[in-house]
């Protein structure tokens, strides 16, 4: 089992988490995720997740004019998105704790 499979389940949360720090555009978000430690995250996966979260109403978007390059489409968390992240974090926490407990070596009393 490699991290890619695990990531698929929580990419939503990861993206939302990244955007909570700061608004970002597509490739920027990919870079930030990779820098955070998900080196192998696929560009298509991030792009698709952004589209889906946007379609689900968890993100807003705006175009930021840029002098040196093309106009970029930025995504930002809205209230629904923050709420989604909140709930998702709790689910993740519970899930991760359960897994930790299961895989941890039991110490004999």
């Amino acid at each position: 089992m490699d991290a890619t499979q695990l990531l698929k389940g929580v990419l939503d949360l990861a993206v939302l988490g990244v955007l909570r720090e700061e608004d970002g555009y597509g490739y920027d978000i990919v870079r930030r995720l990779r820098q955070a430690g998900f080196e192998d995250v696929g560009d298509a996966s991030v792009y698709g997740t952004l589209r889906r979260l946007f379609a689900a109403g968890s993100l807003t978007s705006y175009v930021k004019p840029s002098d040196e390059g093309p106009h970029r489409k930025y995504y930002a968390l809205n209230d629904a998105g923050r709420d989604h992240l909140e709930r998702g974090s709790k689910v993740w926490r519970a899930f991760a704790d359960t897994v930790d407990e299961l895989v941890a070596e039991k110490r004999t009393a």
Binding site: K8, G42, G48, P70
Partner: protein, 340 residues
Amino acid sequence: MNDTGTVSEQVRDYVTKVAASLADLPPEVRADLVADLEQHLTEVAADSQQPLEASLGAPGAYAEELRASAGLDDPPADHSGASLVAGVQRLLERARRSPRMAATLRLADELRPAWWVARGLAPAALMATLSFRSTGGAGWFLVGLIGVVVSVDVGRRKLQRPDARLAIAAVNIAASIALLLVLLEFVQFGIPVRYETIVEEVPPRHLVHPGGEPITNIYAFDATGAPVTGIFLYDGAGKPIEVRRAAAEQYGIQTDYERAADGTPLRNFFPLRQYVQGLDERGMDRLQPRPEPRVVVPALAPSPGASESATATEAPAEARQAEPEPQQEREPGRNQRPDR
């Protein structure tokens, strides 16, 4: 270093291919999905020296990953019944989406023009193999050319009408069968070649005239037309000129060779004694001596300063009266028997 011109070309090309892999989606969904893709990929491309496909992978794979992360792979909430057709369709859908299948379909797409050409050549190829493997030249070339032109033209038109597509499908099947037959012909018989009849030059087995007509016997006459019998014939090297009985046997003529003192048959002692089956004077069927041929010897050219001997003047006079005809072997002609 990528310059902006080729980068945007690359990106557009990549996006087009990704969109192509998503062609099964409803237009609005697909449009929404690729809406910002070009801009997004431009950023990706700008960040790296590599060509897009190196950083992102094949467009087909990108499309699959995109499809999955955008949640489009999720089965619809309600399955309309458990009908077999719907189930098979879903299976096909899923199979078609797999990257390998998408790659295979793309390959098929790229090979389609090659199929058009092959399809166009099918009639000419079939004609060629059916006409017993002899080359036909201009006729087939023309048929082949017309076939290819028509086939490619039809292929390029994207026909929509169901009956037209059905007709095309039928033609495709027929062409496939034809090409398969042609292939089997090759496999079984090898590349068709023109079969030439080779006339093998074998030496005749007995004495023949130029042209091959057998010589069954030899009759000698002197310059006056008198028959000469009981002669041995030899060629320039001293080799006996023999007439084999097999030559005459073809015509039902039997040969009885004169024998030498030691018993060997003298095949060069002429004329050979020969017999044919025939009716005698009493009408009975028995072996008869072969009749001699009737010939008239040609007159010799008068030699300058010819002596006035009786024979000399006689022969030319006789010869002038008779019809000069070449010696004939089998056919007793209209000639007269020369006077002695």
